[in-house]
Symmetry: C2
Amino acid sequence: MCELLGMSANTPTDLCFSFTGLTRRGGETGPHKDGWGVAFYEHKGVRLFHDPEPCATSPIAEFVAQLPIKSKTAICHIRQANVGNINLANTHPFVRELWGLNWVFAHNGQLPGFSANSGLYEAIGDTDSEAMFCDIMNQLRHTLPRDAMPDQLAHTLVTLAEGYAQQGVFNCLLSNGDWLFSFCTTKMASITRRAPFGPAVLKDVEVAVDFAAETTPNDIVSVIATEPLTSDEAWDVYQRGEWKLWQQGEVIACGKVDVPVYENGQRVG
Amino acid sequence: MCELLGMSANTPTDLCFSFTGLTRRGGETGPHKDGWGVAFYEHKGVRLFHDPEPCATSPIAEFVAQLPIKSKTAICHIRQANVGNINLANTHPFVRELWGLNWVFAHNGQLPGFSANSGLYEAIGDTDSEAMFCDIMNQLRHTLPRDAMPDQLAHTLVTLAEGYAQQGVFNCLLSNGDWLFSFCTTKMASITRRAPFGPAVLKDVEVAVDFAAETTPNDIVSVIATEPLTSDEAWDVYQRGEWKLWQQGEVIACGKVDVPVYENGQRVG
């Protein structure tokens, strides 16, 4: 399984602190050593870093962790391969253009029998995750108008996610730079930081930050991760089948659908 | 105007030497200070670095210049903005997926009146360059079968390039990771290095390399650039309207078409 990290904020914010914590799990405090990638939106542009090396020891990850890239939306993924070899084409997050915007997707889980219908968007690598992403993009293009509002998009995305979740574990983050959609079938947690900001300590490495020194009173910054990244804050744990649509650091829509339980690739509930 | 750099090789090769030379022109020995980007293919995957900062002073460019990323095909661009603001979305090279492959495009020139027909591929930023790239992708998808051979592709690409060149300056590099297409209306030069390899000295910065120490006798490495990057090697200068299709470091097809002369945005010949 992999780990996901997302950020939604109302002001451009760097991801250095959370990224530093997550990368330790990529071969050091966690087994996710089969590559990593991150996408930082800057308005309509997106800055991408992908590396099939373990991120705990990747020089590129070390460099990115100290880059003050400021973004309102970011998606990061560290991989423990199950379907698909370890190579660059199989490294999340995946990106496609739709309606003149960059859409970015990362997935944690496994849908071993998944096969996408053919469509305009095709997978480049051979992961089930990228096949699902292409399926999502094909379905969105097919069923929605280009000016669909976030609540329409959320409705379609939840319906698709519910379908994938019938076939296996499907935790995902998806964004078009304007909003960030999150769906959980097994593990996901979030935290929203706003004034008064306090200190926080990472779980995976001895690093502390005082957010009060790095923020203004109006900032709202939410972080979504497979598992909580800090040891001294109260994270909201997603329930099975729960989804949240984030924008500007806040939840603008959310809900919960029934999804089955999968363990080790087998449906058990 | 911008500067282009491409590489085609029969073995994964790093671009450090050429990239180091080119980046000096991004605000130091040249005026191309409005951002830079590079795409390195690794099989079907592509590693991207984009930055709207001047590359001569960009920490990311400095970091990339010493990264031993090995690639058989790479495309790099440094920008001097004319159409479109300086921001990440307007930073070349541009990437789109077609037929399950990453297609990468960079352009030097200006087609001020260019407007693309609507199609599946849409520009994210507001440069004429990205609009042309989307037009190319739409036309390829529309006119060619997915298993088109490089000579069929070249024929279609040359026809399209000839059309763009009627409207302005159109120097470009385009690749799907298998081959690299180059088209020149004003400035482009190439060099093919093969055994016996010798030393070379960059024009723009005091750096020398002994390729003999870094290669094997079977290596063939070609570099295509807007202007020659070294001072002690004989580069082949493209003629107006000349195109070359590169694969594995060698030209597999080439030709020349009649194109008009543009100066300062005006057709003068």
